[in-house]
Amino acid sequence: MTNPMRDNQITTDPSKPAQRMRAGSMSTKVLPWVIAGAALLVLPFVFTNNSAITIMNQMAITIIFALAYNMLLGQGGMLSFGHAVYAGVGGFACMHVMSNTEFFAMLPLPALPIFGGLFGMGLAMIIGSFSTRSAGTVFAMISLGVGELIAACSVIIVAFFGGEEGVSGNRTYAMPFFGNEFLQQIDVYYLIAFWLMVSALLMYLFSRTPIGRMANAVRDNPERAEFLGYSSRWVRYYSFIFSGFFAGIAGGLFAINYEIVTEENLNTASSGVILLVTFLGGVGFFFGPIIGAIAFTLLQTVLSLQTELWAFYAGALFLATVMFFPGGLAGLLMMHVPAIKLGNASKLVVPYITTLIPAFIGIMGVSALVEMTFHVRHSSVGDEEMTVFWTTFNSHDLLPWAVAIGVTVVAFGIMRKMLPSLRAAWADANTSKGGAA
């Protein structure tokens, strides 16, 4: 019997692929975790001031939340518009544990987030029991409805949600943990960093378990998964519960860090933010949400000191990601792997510089125009002086406008001129020397 498919295949050694995979995998899998752990330990010595540590705390909490969210969106194919609910409820639960002074005095603070996780998980078990029946639009709509419902409860069930002012507490009443009462931001930093490592590792390992693999299978093709003996619904339900747990951990850490949890922590706006963060980072890779959380927190904290319009820029960035880089920042990075493997990465350097510098100047020009428009429309009468990019000028003069428009048009013009050379370089870099890749 002839075998038409086998004849024209390049024959590697078919007896050894498994061993080959395993041999190289150990070091490449452990290394990123070691680096991440070391970085978390060292970072506070690099960025020593309190505001930097506050930003890093917020970043770490957002990373956990975004990773939890991606268990649904990226790995399970469930688009949730109400995931802040699980983090928020976890946060509220932790605040109530804090308020129970007698119990709290016997509990070391690092154990507190577990309560957040359990409450997030408990709620996810209830909501998931009906919301995970199907993925797609039905799931998205239920998540939105539940999100609104629980956010509305915050003003109805005041005993738990504390009404409009929320619930506040004091983390230092916890049982001292090896003499540490977590008075300093830096102490809290290490607590959060510990939980970040533990949660991220557990979430990663989850994706390697049978149920984690089947979550991918159900995402790609629920019907086929059913004919392999798995109930799509149960697979989704498990992912949902685990995601709720880690969202609750993030909420608990939020409670520890800020010592106050309000309705804002679980409303639809917060749910929208975490969707944005996750998508910005990239849903297709495990580390995507980590990058997204770092980038977004920087935008939120650093950029918001520079401009009131930071949310405008964040929105524009999100839009650009969805339209041009649906793989997110992680996808953008991983696009370069083939070129690097072929040893052609250097071919991209010059075209990148000649294209991205004008693009960057063009974006600066646009943002200058946005800031000037904002200034003209919103500054008080008589206040005509403004500063953009270290340049102070009168926003009502014609010259700055002419300069900004000129720079923008010329810069984007140059960028467009350069794009073909970048495309050519890209194609070249992704082609191996022996012909087609």
Binding site: P4, R6, T11, A18, T209, I211, A217, E226
Partner: protein
């Protein structure tokens, strides 16, 4: 007499007022290779979907090893030992070829909804999946995303996924649809080797494909079985020649 591997008893299915499957009776024995053929629109795929629980039947019974399948979800039917492929290739295109097969082994190797062991470290999974890949000759496509395979390779992978779970009743829905002659020969040979000792039920449009493969053939025309028997007998049956081959000849002209 032993119980049939699969038995259909007066199976009927209506979509609205239109009756698509009009009382099908069929018993397929253990280790039998049975082909269901019929012209386009005869209801072959609908019959398949009824058996595998994709649609609920209007009336009648489907029995797998004597157990009634009424009201069972596809995943439950699969766990009872029936596995199927699809007419339109139905794999996990974004996952690697290896991963596709490994996923299809998980349930049968008892992993169920396990969230505490690592699939990468389970030797039974890795070895089992590679054994299947070897059987379907895709071992050297192991780490490619399944969606990038050629059409015939994807069909082979789908057969691999279907048999991987160790089900003893295998149902294949037009496994050679859209293939060239040499590809068809290849797939038929593949089906022959991977279904040794198992019960095979396959739907085919082309009678030539199943002739050398099937132990028995049933002919489905307008939702009714007009003949069941050994290939030679079915081919010689005047009713079949009239209804099926006649229609096929018409289509060719």
């Amino acid at each position: 007499m032993t119980t049939a591997a699969l038995e259909l008893i007066d199976l009927r299915k209506s979509f609205g007022k239109t009756e698509i499957i009009r009382g099908v009776n069929l018993a397929v024995g253990e280790s039998e290779r049975h082909a269901i053929i019929g012209p386009n629109g005869a209801g072959k795929s609908t019959l398949f979907n009824l058996i595998t629980g994709r649609f609920p039947q209007t009336s009648g019974e489907v029995r797998l090893h004597g157990n009634n399948l009424a009201g069972k979800a596809p995943f439950e039917i699969n766990r009872m030992g029936l596995s199927r492929s699809f007419q339109i290739t139905n794999i996990f295109p974004k996952m690697t070829v290896f991963e596709n097969v490994r996923c299809s082994l998980l349930w049968s190797l008892g992993y169920k909804y396990n969230f505490w062991s690592m699939v990468g470290r389970s030797r039974d999974l890795t070895e089992g999946a590679e054994q299947i890949l070897d059987q379907i000759n895709l071992l050297n496509r192991r780490d490619l995303p399944a969606g990038t395979l050629s059409y015939a390779e994807q069909r082979a992978l789908e057969i691999g996924i279907t048999i991987a779970g160790g089900a003893d009743v295998i149902m294949l829905d037009e496994p050679t649809a859209g293939m060239s002659h040499s590809e068809t020969d290849y797939i038929v040979e593949l089906i022959r080797t991977v279904t040794v000792g198992k019960t095979l039920i396959m739907v085919e449009h082309d009678m030539g494909v199943v002739f050398g493969l099937a132990d028995r053939i049933s002919v489905l025309v307008y939702g009714e079985l007009i003949a069941t028997g050994r290939p030679e007998d079915v081919r010689a049956d005047p009713k079949v020649q009239e209804a099926y081959l006649g229609a096929a000849l018409e289509a060719e002209h």
